[in-house]
Amino acid sequence: MTIHEHDIDELLELLWTLKERNVDSLGEALRISEQENPERIIEEMENAALVEIKGDKISLTKKGDAMARDIIRRHRLAEVLLSQIFELSDEAVHAEACKFEHILGPDVTESVCTFLGHPPVCNHGNPIPRGECCQRFKKEMKPLVLPLTELSPGEDGRIVFIAPKEHKRLDKLTTFGVVPGSTIKLHQKTPSFIIKIGETDLAIDEDIAKEIYVRRAENGDNRKR
């Protein structure tokens, strides 16, 4: 039987979560692993200098730690994306997130993280390891895509996507030209949201504004982030 990268990823993930709970027992890791023949995988990992084993104690090497960290980061970001944006059920979120963690490239991971506004924790409250983009975010303090409700009055936003609860709502917004790609200006937030699209002023409820996700544009300039 060959050892796949996939299996190693799974064990790295497992070791990371155990570490989060301050567990470093090799026996415990082998017991709860869902992979086939975990002993062999661990052996392989030791050979690849991903883990160090001393008696029953297992720990991640610097290299292994970095890899595990990335996997966990991808998994938990995927969870947030799938549950909060796509509103999938918990089971579906788990199953899909397990796939995502293996396939997301570094660039996509950054985009997802930025898109979600650099969330610090996943759905279950576990910390999401920070990425480079999060460091930059700290300086800029501006997530890339945010609900319209987060814009300040007077700001322009380019619509990235609309996540309506009802299709009818989407249809209505569409006929006014409120579609992904259009630029809108937020005029005010109370007593109702008022947006300007083209030369049309539209008053909308906060509920609807929450569902419109925009990329902030410096007045009139859509390219600037």
Binding site: H167, R169, D171, H187, G198, E199
Partner: protein, 653 residues
């Protein structure tokens, strides 16, 4: 009012005017026909379809269609317009586009192109576009679409003669574009299944792909298998997209629109906003908007309540009727008609001239007239949608949203007319709540005039108790209704048209149309009511009912037995009932508490017989019966409770 199905034009030649809301369709229609219709800034007021004959060609019929944003209907209005395109044998269409909102107009244009209908574009309001630094190259637009594009500024009649000449030169557009292969494939397959129609099969197929439910009746001629096939094709096409097909289709159209706009529209650096624009912004400001709202209400009150109900009524009733018409007609009738009964019928206490005409013309007309002038100004200025923004949150308590402010305010003019406009609301739940609240507690201007005249003369406290009781009842009932009546959520998405200075001529014509409608509706009912009262009085039945109803009137409400007659007539028209109570009060038969209790009770009555008929027509028998069964007992219960409280605590008003 008119039913659009009956209004179908029977002329040999006919054209229709269509376009987005607030682009000036109705003004254009007025200029082409000479027959005026309601022009309104409030999105969705033009629910009724208006038709007329061209003033430049008597043979040519013109249809003014309700404003649409899309020809895949999402509201009753849009459906009416789409049905006109499907069902009427039109020789051509005039699409009116607001030059500063080219994009929104072109979304409809592309659908006309697909339908293969001959049309021309009337690019209107170029003046407003230019003041915003926007220019549309109408020649280029015409070249791209292959149809005529005429520029007009309808409010100052610019370009109208050119438009008139062009009405016979409508053309089918050669413009076309393709959707994704999945959609094209689906459309092609559906087109093979459906029969020939006035509009192109491909466009019909695209509508069906969009899942347009309102086309169902049109498909009735197809056999069940074909319908099933269409649904399968639709499902298959949908399977390729995570978003609904109609959204995918509309998005594709918007892409094309964008391309056209890029080639035809140019912009200069935007000039500083005008004063009107700043005012428009202030009017919806969370804080600064409130004094504006107050000022507007105060002005309306001053104009209608003080000038109309005071000055004008004094003149009409006190001078014209009491000094001239009534003495003169009394003199003539007493000389000409010997029968005492016939004399009483015309000029007695319950006489047609002395009561019905005096009341409806001398008292109602000035109040209703001034109200409709004020309302017309509010409408044409574009303030009403902004008012809707301001009251949106309050209306949420009632299970409504700000849009419902239009029928509610209009209800202060005429509840019956307002009930008709309730159909512009989106959900059934909202329509029922608005209809109920209008019928229950929004006093029309006629009644307001009587009430303000009576209570204003007493004390501020009396007026406050009356208003407080009615408003509390409205909120409690509205709140409960919003909990009891089933229905989903409703969206508040509303266009705010630019603030404009209303045109006097528009206001006057509009007011005249409304007053005419009101008088046609009201005067016969006043006469009918007077006759009923007269008959009941003569035959002694009135006395009988007074005795029968006295436990309720005297016991529960604590009013004199004579008030029964007023309440009885209040079933016909509540303002008429209020006038009866006014008479009792003037005669010194009621104390202040009694006046307030009786006014609250009568205010909560159903407004009039005409309103009941409209409720039946709009909401159906069952709902109407339910409302009657709810409203009248509620009126007496609230009146009874108020009487009890005032007496128990010995409140001095």
């Amino acid at each position: 009012m008119h039913n659009h199905e009956k209004e179908v034009l029977r002329t040999d030649k006919k054209i229709a005017i269509l376009g987005n809301p607030n682009v000036g369709k109705s003004v254009i229609f007025g200029l082409l026909t000479g027959k005026y219709v309601m022009v309104s800034n409030y999105p969705g007021t033009t629910v009724e379809v208006t038709t007329g004959h061209a003033n430049f060609d008597k043979e040519l019929g013109i249809i003014d269609t309700p404003g649409v944003n899309n020809l895949i209907p999402m509201s009753e209005d849009e459906r009416v317009t789409r049905d006109i395109l499907l069902n009427e044998d039109l020789d051509g269409l005039v699409q009116v586009i607001d030059a500063k909102n080219l994009r929104r107009g072109l979304l409809i244009t592309l659908q006309l192109c697909e339908m293969g209908l001959p049309f021309l574009i009337d690019l209107n309001m170029g003046d407003e576009a230019r003041s915003r630094g926007m220019y549309v190259d109408s020649k280029r637009l015409g070249d791209i679409l292959g149809v005529r594009v005429v520029e007009t500024v309808a409010t100052s009649r610019k370009g109208i003669s050119k438009l008139v000449k062009s009405t016979t030169k409508t053309k089918k557009s050669h413009f076309s574009f393709r959707y994704s292969p999945e959609i094209e494939e689906g459309a092609k397959k559906i087109a093979e299944l459906i029969p020939e129609a006035r509009i192109g099969k491909r466009s019909m197929a695209l509508m069906l792909l969009s899942g347009d439910e309102s086309l169902k009746p049109w498909l009735a001629s197809l056999d069940a298998e074909a319908i099933k096939k269409i649904e399968q094709i639709r499902d298959r096409a949908q399977a390729s997209y995570s978003q609904p097909l109609n959204y995918v289709i509309t998005k594709r159209r918007l892409e094309e629109v964008h391309r056209i706009v890029k080639q035809t529209e140019s912009r200069e650096e935007k000039k500083a906003g005008s004063i009107l624009e700043s005012f428009g912004r202030l009017a919806v400001h969370p804080i600064k908007g409130i004094p504006i709202l107050m000022a507007v209400l105060l002005l309306v009150y001053w104009f209608v309540g003080v000038f109309g109900a005071g000055t004008l009524v004094d003149f009409f009733e006190g001078v014209i009727f009491n000094e001239y018409i009534n003495p003169t007609s009394t003199g003539i009738i007493e000389r000409l008609i010997p029968s005492k009964l016939a004399q009483d019928f015309l000029i007695g206490d319950y006489g047609i001239i002395t009561m019905a005409l005096t009341y409806s013309v001398a008292i109602i007309l000035p109040i209703v007239g001034t109200f409709f002038i004020a309302f017309g100004i509010l409408e044409d200025s574009g303030y009403l949608p902004r008012l809707a923004v301001m009251v949106n949150r309050i209306f949420k308590i009632l299970g409504l949203n700000g849009k419902a402010v239009l029928p509610m305010i209009l209800g202060l003019g005429c509840v019956t007319m307002a009930t008709l406009t309730a159909r512009t609301l989106e959900t059934k739940k909202e329509r029922i709540i608005v209809t109920l609240l209008l019928a229950l507690g929004v006093p029309c201007s006629a009644q307001l005039g009587v009430i303000l005249g009576l209570l204003g003369g007493l004390s501020g406290a009396a007026l406050a108790v009356w208003a407080g009781s009615v408003v509390t009842t409205l909120f409690v009932v509205g709140f409960l209704a919003s909990k009891v009546i089933p229905g989903g959520s409703y969206d508040f998405i509303m266009e705010l048209p630019p603030i404009r200075v209303p045109k006097l001529s528009n206001i006057l014509i509009k007011t005249a149309t409304r007053v005419e409608w009101y008088l046609k509706e009201a005067v016969p009912l006043f006469i009918l009511g007077t006759i009923v009262l007269f008959t009941l009085d003569i035959t002694g039945i009135l006395g009988g009912i007074e005795i029968a109803a006295s436990p309720l009137i005297v016991g529960v409400l604590g009013l004199p037995a004579q008030a029964t007659g007023a309440f009885l007539i209040g079933f016909l028209r509540r303002d008429y009932g209020a006038a009866g109570l006014f008479a009792l009060a003037s005669a010194g038969l009621m104390d202040t508490t009694q006046i307030v209790v009786s006014m609250v009770t009568i205010t909560l009555f159903m407004p009039c017989i005409a309103n009941l008929f409209i409720i039946i027509k709009e909401r159906g028998w069952k709902t109407a019966a339910g409302m009657v069964a709810f409203i009248f007992p509620t009126a007496f219960i609230v009146g009874g409770i108020l009487n009890f409280i005032l007496r128990y605590f010995e409140v001095m008003l």
